[in-house]
Amino acid sequence: MSGIGSGYDLSTTTYSPDGRVFQVEYAGKAVDAGGLTVGVKCVDGVVIACEKLVPSKLHKPGTNRRTRAVARHAGVGGSGYTPDLAAVADRARAECANYKSFYGDAIPGKVLAERMAHYYHLFTLYWSVRPFGCSTLLGCKDFDGYHLYLVEQNGECAKMRGACIGKGKNAAKTEVEKLKLNEITCAEAVKELARIVYATHDVKDKEFECEMSWVCDASDGEFVRVPEDIAEPAREAARVAAQGDAMES
């Protein structure tokens, strides 16, 4: 037996002698390898931006979305394996519909986040299943206002003001921490997030699309794509800024 796991990394049902569950940590590596996802909670809503890596020029722009609405008032964006992300988003949709059908009201952000975390966690408990290779940011509006939750591949769940997952998350986090999240509006955040996504994009990587969605006052509390007339200028400015930086260095 050799290698980092020393044989304790084959299943989620066995701890290593120092108390780690390697499979879940490896799933985290899959998340880190996926394109960046950044989300911030602003005064008037939540914005989530994704660096969607495009493996081939033959891909049709706008397809294979990384941010998805799961109900009218809530949506997720995430990093990692996109099929896993789709499975988690589907589950989140089912949870929203399920809650609505029983309690007659839209699911509150906290409940949805906890149920998603619960779902993630279930997949870290049995040898017969593989933990999800993705983490998600959840943007939501409920009676108490707007919320951003980070739901991770290991089943952790936290309410955030800003969060980054995926490739280049540390650099992005430094940038997000500089934002005045208590003052910034969603319209401003769109520009900032676009800038962060372009600035942290690794030029060695393939083509990418900067995909942005929000749930905010401007969208009437619905989780939708940021309208192109707002998103595209933000992307363009970010593109120019990123090229400028590249020239300087």
């Binding site: 979305r65 609405a69 799961v70 009218r72 949709r93 929203c96 809650y99 609505k100 029983f102 906890e114």
Partner: protein, 289 residues
């Protein structure tokens, strides 16, 4: 705080674990309510106790499925015109023959392309609305630029209704579906309680079949203007309110156009009771009542 255990149990629904599954959790719950004022003063005994709904037992229970409607709406009408489709209902929901709820909106906007109006049981209509709401939420989440059109909603409803009647557990409703089909042409159809359905230039569900449709047949022509269509609709509603005891003189007309769905404010139609013969009903008919 009481630790929350989640489960997806078919009968009790989401977010709660049945009593008895987790003794530790139960103990916490019991201890808590017994200590607090919740049980002692507010809930007083039995009401605070966690209950279990036995899902398996419910499934096994003998099916008694014939129902009767309790709270009902009467006729719903639909009429095409040059620029779209009109829907009309009154705003009454009857409890037997008691005029129980007088401000019920019996028209539902499904999406920009479709609205439906119903007759029959109010609670079943609420259930159908929930189903349609789930469909439109699905459309919203997919965000692929398409939404279900009126004809699709109509076909969907025929399946729902026929499936339920085939379980001998019908939804006690009929519907008028109005809007636009996939080709962008105006659509107007009706779905019955057991899944019967047809589309036409004008339709009626419920008692209005007998009263409003003859009027539609007489006055309908292709390319009615909106004003003409509203006038025909109002004369049909007038006939309905005179001759359908479950109808009240408080109506809503909704229209579906290319611009979307708009549901109008409630209004009353003018009536006439001041005829000479009404004052003196037996004057020209000796021996009459």
């Amino acid at each position: 705080m009481i630790p929350r255990r989640t489960a997806h149990e078919r009968v009790i629904g989401p977010g709660v674990v049945p009593h008895g599954v987790d003794p530790e959790h139960d103990a916490l719950y019991r201890g808590r309510t017994a200590r607090g004022t919740v049980t002692d003063e507010v809930l007083r005994g039995v009401r605070g106790r966690p209950f279990t709904i036995d899902g398996k037992a419910r499934e096994k229970a003998p099916a008694t499925r014939t129902q009767t409607p309790y709270v009902t709406g009467t006729s719903a009408l639909g009429l095409k015109y040059a620029g779209g489709v009109l829907l009309a209902t009154d705003t009454l929901a009857c409890y037997g023959s008691t005029k129980r709820y007088k401000s019920v909106e019996r028209v539902k906007r499904v999406n920009d392309k479709c609205a439906i109006a119903f007759t029959g049981e109010l609670s079943d209509f609420a259930y159908v609305c929930d189903l349609l709401e789930e469909l439109t939420t699905e459309d919203f989440c997919e965000d692929d630029g398409t939404t279900r059109d009126a004809e699709e909603i109509y076909q969907y409803l025929t399946r729902v209704m026929y499936n339920r009647r085939s379980k001998f557990d019908p939804l006690w409703n009929s519907f008028v579906v109005a809007g636009y089909d996939a080709k962008g042409e105006a659509f107007c159809g009706t779905v019955g309680m057991i899944g019967t359905h047809y589309a036409d230039d004008h339709v009626a569900a419920g008692f209005g079949n007998h009263i409003a449709r003859p009027i539609f047949r007489e006055f309908y022509k292709p390319d009615l203007t909106e004003e003409e269509a509203v006038e025909i609709m109002k004369s049909a509603l007038y006939a309905c309110v005179m001759r359908d005891k479950q109808m009240m003189n408080k109506f809503q007309i909704a229209k579906v156009t290319k611009e979307g769905v708009s549901i109008g404010e409630p209004f009353a139609v003018p009536t006439e009771w001041g005829y000479e013969k009404f004052y003196n009903p037996t004057k020209f008919s000796p021996g009459g009542w």
